[in-house]
Symmetry: C2
Subunit: 275 residues, 2 copies
């Protein structure tokens, strides 16, 4: 769509599209409410988190800035910890202290984005490729009556879920597997769909005194909508529609239609990233 030729991509070592003689790599850490945004990734004519960040960075640094993130969240998915890296001129960055940089970023971006930290990183750092582990949390409000305080950040499942069965089903997903059945079909085309899932654990928590089931999922990397497909599949087991061993069959099938429906975006939070 664009006529500009990008010779090096943003995550490649030494990416410096604007010929800065003092380019360095930085990252910002931020949280956001997914509800108002058409996802993380920049899209023309849409309100996106990346679009907001790049516009604010470009205004602040007085040159076009392109960013790379730890995890591209879909429309409606939230982040407690998202990390975004970019190249910038060290002189330009040094002209502001980090607190005022963060303050300006929050003033220049839409409500629902909260920039919380700025860090200088090694030259070859990439928020995406340097990440060793990503953690997502999925929140379910499992009462017949509706949630109030947790409504924007939890899936309301009215009938009681069998969490023991869900835990048993989740055990099959731990380890290295071909997660093709848990990847949005169009995104899986011709790509390697093996991923390593370190942990799928369940715990009860309370937020503003409302009880939630939290599903914590950690892995090295995730396919498109993989966590939501995993949670949708586990909830089908928790509802008694499928047996716990079903998740093994789903993995075997290697086709998206074998798994459960995606759980709603609003219950999912990109919780943490480790480098």
């Amino acid at each position: 769509m664009t006529s500009r030729v990008i010779y090096r991509r943003t995550w490649e070592r030494g990416y410096n599209p604007h010929g800065m003689d003092d380019a360095r790599t930085y990252s910002i850490t931020l949280a956001y409410d997914g509800a108002p945004f058409a996802g993380f990734a920049r899209q023309p004519g849409q309100l996106t988190v990346q679009g907001e960040l790049e516009q604010a960075l470009s205004t602040l640094l007085r040159m076009p800035v392109e960013t790379t993130c730890a995890g591209r969240t879909d429309t409606g998915v939230h982040a407690r910890t998202q990390v975004v890296s970019f190249s910038a001129s060290a002189r330009e960055m040094a002209s502001r202290n980090p607190a005022s940089f963060i303050r300006s970023m929050n003033a220049l971006t839409q409500d629902g984005i909260s920039v919380r930290a700025l860090d200088e990183r090694p030259e070859d750092f990439s928020a995406r490729f340097s990440a060793k582990m990503r953690e997502y949390r999925y929140f379910i409000f499992n009462r017949e009556y509706p949630p109030i305080f947790t409504e924007p950040f939890a899936w309301h499942v009215k009938r009681p879920l069998d969490v023991d069965a869900m835990q048993e089903a989740a055990a099959h997903l731990i380890g290295e597997h071909d997660f093709k059945s848990f990847c949005m079909a169009a995104s899986a085309e011709g790509k390697r769909t093996y991923r390593y899932v370190d942990e799928v654990s369940f715990f009860q928590c309370e937020q503003f005194a409302e009880p939630l089931i939290c599903i914590k999922v950690r892995g090295n990397a995730f396919l498109h909508s993989m966590v939501r497909a995993m949670v949708g599949t586990l909830v089908a087991v928790g509802r008694g529609q499928r047996k716990p061993s079903w998740t093994e069959d789903v993995l075997e099938a290697k086709t998206r239609s074998a798994a459960g429906e995606n759980a709603p975006a609003k219950g999912l939070v990109l919780w943490d990233v480790e480098y």
Copy 2:
């Protein structure tokens, strides 16, 4: 405004405006998000919690129903536990089990209301006059960057607050006092403004991993916007604008203009009621 003469008020013993031969007293317990409502109290042409509840109860019970609540919250104030009592025909109530009654109430009321329990009470029970203790909690997000997960339920105060000074200031408010300075002026006219405040305590909590200062206020009863005036006054101390002993002077003055501004409604939650 209304031409109907109400001979007995809803909280009087034996209130039975519709001549039911089997009137009993019931209560519902509910939570709500204050944001969409013009407060609890019914007002013609406005979306209110009481208006929604009375309309739903009247539809369900096929007769006009009037309600009394534990604490009339202002526009934008939330409730984790609100108790609402009403008279109804025992036969009509017996025709439904409590779970289906609660389900119908949630189906018939606006999003943002969550009815959670139904109880039969002694004949002379009043959600308002039988309450022995009310607890409010006020949440403050005290970081320079904005909150995300707690945004709808917390006041964002950017500069660091001196919580020790606030605690010292709060100590003067504990006990029985004339709280006229903490009551909306129009509501204080010609009324007894003594109240007993049992506890004003501070603790740190985390909701969805965001750190909050929580101010817990317990007392037998509260004047109009009293908790918000107390919190606004304590925050003026926490900001260093006033000394902790200022709260004594404010109590002494017995005029609303002596106290701090009302803290924003959205940080306040009616947390609990004891009978």
